[in-house]
Symmetry: C2
Subunit: 102 residues, 2 copies
C-alpha cells in the first residue's frame, strides 16, 4: 500500500476553500486511476502543542508508489493538480510513500 | 477515526535512527492505550518534484482525537515522547486530526 498525503496550509478564505475542495476537487481526485481509498481530516489539524499551520489533510491510498506516479501522470491526475491553484491559496505540501505495518 | 502522524526529518545517522526506531521506539509506541493501527513509510518519502526532507513517516490510528490526547498524556505516551530525543536528531513534525471518508 502507498499514500499520497496532501497537506493544505491555512488558506486565505477557509470557507471558500472548503466549498471548492469538496464540490470540485474531491470529484476530480476521485477520478484518478488506481485510487483505493480517500480520507480527509475532519475538524482542526492540531499538534501536541496547539494549532498547526494546516487547514486540511487529504490521504489518498493507492497500491504502491508506482501507481501514484501513474495517477499523477494521467490526464485525470494532471487535471486535479492543475485545480490546486484554484483554491489552495495557503500553499500545499505533498508527500508520497509506500507503507507497511510497524 | 483519527490519526497521529509523526513526520521524522532526515536524521544525522539514518541507519542508527532506523535501528533505534524499530527496536526501541515502535515497541514503546505500541504500548500507548487506544492504538488501533500503526503504519510506517517504507523506503523514501518523496514529493512530486523529488526527494522530501523527511526520512520516515509514522501513521498511528486511534478512535478519535480525544483518544490520542489520552494516549499522549498516559505514562506510555509520555515514555514514547521522551524517547524521541534519543533518535529523532533531524527533528520531528507531529499532526493530530480526526478523519472521515472524502
Amino acid at each position: 500500500m502507498a499514500q499520497l498525503v496532501v497537506m493544505y496550509k491555512t488558506p486565505k478564505d477557509p470557507a471558500a476553500f472548503d466549498k471548492h475542495y469538496f464540490e470540485i476537487h474531491v470529484p476530480l481526485a476521485k477520478k484518478t486511476p488506481g485510487l483505493t481509498k480517500y480520507e480527509v481530516s475532519r475538524g482542526p489539524v492540531a499538534t501536541p502543542a496547539g494549532p498547526s499551520t494546516y487547514h486540511l489533510l487529504a490521504l489518498l491510498h493507492y497500491d504502491d508508489v508506482a501507481a501514484i506516479q501513474k495517477a499523477l501522470a494521467s490526464a485525470e491526475g494532471r487535471a486535479a493538480v492543475a485545480d490546486l491553484q484554484n483554491f489552495a491559496t495557503g500553499g500545499v505540501d505533498i508527500l508520497i510513500f509506500d507503507t507497511c505495518p510497524a
